[in-house]
């Protein structure tokens, strides 16, 4: 009887706590440990393809031969591009073999950087900026619109494997906030692109997604036709005339 009452009360308290506590921020891929899945197992074979093997050699040539491990980040990036945007354990193991370190040293790097995805992502990985300026300009609405349009949750891949949506921290495009990045893995490492789409509105964002679905590559940069790059809407308003010479002493006149 009291037990029941107490349990009820406890539940109330719990839900109250849950409501106030923010859900932990989910970065690109959440877990810091590996769970075997059919498409992500250490014993699956994985190798750089022939074209990329050349690139691996080139990357390694940037570093002294006794510091091969410095190449871990470019190599992981290359592996990620080759593998359609994500890094299975076997790819990390392959990188470890190339740079001759223990696999755990590669796992450490791959788990540290949020741009290395350790779970599957879509061919087009959409990363919406969630940092303050973009958030103030409505990035949450944009993310919501895309998620609703695609019918997925954050970090989930659409059924056709084309899209996944994630959140990213500031990408330095605050002047054209809100923005998102599209990491394009549809053509392997050759056609890899990482383009910014700025000045978004929820409608515009969905249009871009649809364009990608059709196989088009919408023009990157600001989506506001009234702007050129990050210039103000409707053309420049300041610095219209010839710029003044720097305020130097006129040495000739001084003489």
């Amino acid at each position: 009887m009291f037990g029941r009452l107490a349990a009820q009360r406890l539940n109330e308290i719990r839900t109250a706590i849950r409501r106030t506590t923010q859900a932990s921020r989910s970065f690109s891929t959440a877990l810091n440990y590996h769970i075997d899945t059919p498409d992500n197992k250490p014993d699956l074979p994985w190798e750089f393809n022939n074209a990329n093997k050349e690139k691996v050699k080139e990357i390694l040539s940037f570093y002294p031969s006794n510091y091969k491990q410095s190449a871990v980040i470019p190599l992981l990036d290359l592996a990620q591009q080759q593998n359609g945007g994500w890094l299975p354990v076997s790819a990390m193991n392959a990188v470890a073999k190339v740079i001759e370190v223990a696999p755990i040293r590669v796992y450490e790097v791959a788990t540290f950087y949020t741009m290395f995805n350790r779970t599957k992502v879509g061919k087009y990985h959409l990363l919406v900026c969630g940092t303050t300026p973009c958030m103030i300009r409505g990035s949450r609405g944009i993310e919501e619109a895309i998620l609703k349009h695609l019918g997925v949750k954050r970090n989930e891949v659409t059924k056709d494997g084309l899209f996944s949506v994630g959140e990213m921290e500031c990408m330095g495009c605050c002047v054209n906030a809100p923005m998102m990045t599209v990491a394009d893995y549809s053509n392997g490492s050759e056609g890899y692109a990482y383009n910014y789409y700025e000045d978004l509105t929820p409608k515009k964002a969905v249009e871009i997604v649809e364009a990608f679905r059709k196989g088009e590559k919408p023009p990157r940069g600001t989506q506001n036709p009234g702007r050129v790059n990050c210039g103000p809407e409707g053309g420049n308003t300041t610095l219209l005339g010839e710029p003044k010479a720097p305020p130097c002493r006129d040495l000739d006149a001084a003489e």
Binding site: I17, T21, S24, F27, N32, Y33, H34, P42, V89, V101, A102, P103, I104, R105, Y107, E108, T111, F112, Y113, T114
Partner: protein, 738 residues
Amino acid sequence: MGLGLLASRALRSSRIIRNSTRTIVSTPELKNADAAAAAAAADAPSDLPKRNPVGGARVHIPNPDDVIEVFVDGYPVKIPKGMTVLQACEIAGVDIPRFCYHSRLSIAGNCRMCLVEVEKSPKPVASCAMPALPGMKIKTDTPIAKKAREGVMEFLLMNHPLDCPICDQGGECDLQDQSMAFGSDRGRFTEMKRSVVDKNLGPLVKTVMTRCIQCTRCVRFASEVAGVEDLGMLGRGSGEEIGTYVEKLMTSELSGNVIDICPVGALTSKPFAFKARNWELKGTESIDVTDAVGSNIRIDSRGPEVMRVVPRLNEDINEEWISDKTRFFYDGLKRQRLNDPMIRGADGRFQAVSWRDALAIVAEVMHQIKPEEIVGVAGKLSDAESMMALKDLLNKMGSNNIFCEGNGMRPNADLRSGYIMNTSISGLEKADAFLLVGTQPRVEAAMVNARIRKTVKATNAKVGYVGPAADFNYDHEHLGTDPQTLVEIAKGSHPFSSALKNAKNPVIIVGAGVFDRDDKDAVFAAVDTIAKNNNVVRPDWNGLNVLLLNAAQAAALDLGLVPESDKCIDSAKFVYLMGADDVNLDKLPDDAFVVYQGHHGDRGVYRANVILPASAFTEKEGIYENTEGCAQITLPAVPTVGDARDDWKIVRALSEVAGVGLPYDSLGAIRSRIKTVAPNLLEVDERQPATFSTSLRPEVSQKVSATPFTPAVENFYMTDAITRASKIMAQCSALLKK
């Protein structure tokens, strides 16, 4: 630094440790920075009270020009260049709180607990990572330093669960100790604490990763000392955690040491989990006998039970690590114990009898047998006293057929340098080339292997290995599998001989497995030639070593346990096995009478006619000599089981019943007897180097055979009666066998 660690530092300089207080407490007059400065200025340095270095820390100044002087709380200390601020403080007698810093690991500087104030520095500095500079004025007790540490502590406790009551580290936890000094009595953190999934690191190390404070000591230990790069720091920010990423057991023979170095309860001992609290335990400083290294251990016992084994500091032998076998074999002490004298009846079954009856029968049988048919075999775990008593007894009976298992049937006991580690274990650090002959140090002597690895890591020493395919955790060259390779190296025709030749301090280590080979003399002769050709033995350097396998071997050879004939087992009618389980009794005649004296019902028992229960090494005081020739004493930590008695006492009693009474009745008396045979065994804790070198060895005409070397230890975790009885060791060998 944990209390356990501090206690273990008390090894030889226990006086020093008693005087030095763990000063986290600040002196009231130093609380005020101005007053402290004034006090420092007013007092001439000579007036300051003498301070003792923390934990007996010693200053070793390699170059007198590189001495700098720094002031710790106004107290001047002279330290060599390159020391960190934290080390300077330790020498000045100030114990700086720390979590991530460990003197034997690389510096990480990520816990920030060791913050101190340095004059003219705008911020508190992390003393473990800051090199001391000449004239630096370090203040460890100022309000700024205290406040800084309190801030760090609050952040550390933010995500640390408050589960001290159910944590095995409770009572010996660095975080617990230091939060007494720097922790707040209330928390300001109202969010949810983070939680981390526990990792499965195998049957020895239990993980509760939520308790982890990310000091990375275990990561550094695994990659720097143990040589298994399994652990890593995964993730970032608050999601950071220690783990292996893919599930992987920690397959190192030193993995248990992460339990000691973990400053919190994140890594604890799995077999010891929830068994006892550390303040209930009685520590007994003893010696490990599971291999020939003689690691210094502390046996923690509660009542009649050995609860756990932890290392003691001994810079010359095991530093502060011990192998997993040493740490976790202790449950074998509680299983398969012989507790009553037993006689095998006519029906082939054992029956418990009284000591009087058992000894009477043994004495009677012994008298009926011709003296040359009496054979005594000392076991792997026998101490010097009992081997002396057994040898004296057999000699009094007229037999001289006594040997120690593992030494082979034709041991060469004439030259002490021919069977000990002449370089000494700590001396291995000076070496720059190793030649391992028929030995796999990783399984035969894990602590020696750790030294070799340390040397290889520090000096890039070359390692050549002759023997069966083996597992090494450092770079090595596998030169061959049979002794022919040695002959090639001796001739200089092998590519590795140039590496040996160019080395300044070359080291050759011969495994004791070679003792059992028929061509042992030839192998040793080949090794001698290599040594001669490459200047391995010089007046200032002796690099010719034998790595023994068992704790009893060195003392047995010192005491002259050499059989008269190498076929004595084949014709024996009376065999006295003193804990000998691995001796080959296949050729023993069926009508031979076998007495087994030992503490475990292991292999030797099944052939025995009479069983005399003896005490294990945790239950008696005995001298053991390790492979480098250092005699050490075990001390009784727990009472013996049942009717068991000390080995030498049984032999003494038997001599009385047999009418050939031995002339000693006490440990002191038997030790004076040992003194007449091998005085070096009484120089406890002092390594006694061999006086004569092996160059005196007689010429050998024998040729080496082409038989490949065989592994001397098949299973690292199960080498003797105690470890074979241990369940934990059985689990380990099932899961981690190398």
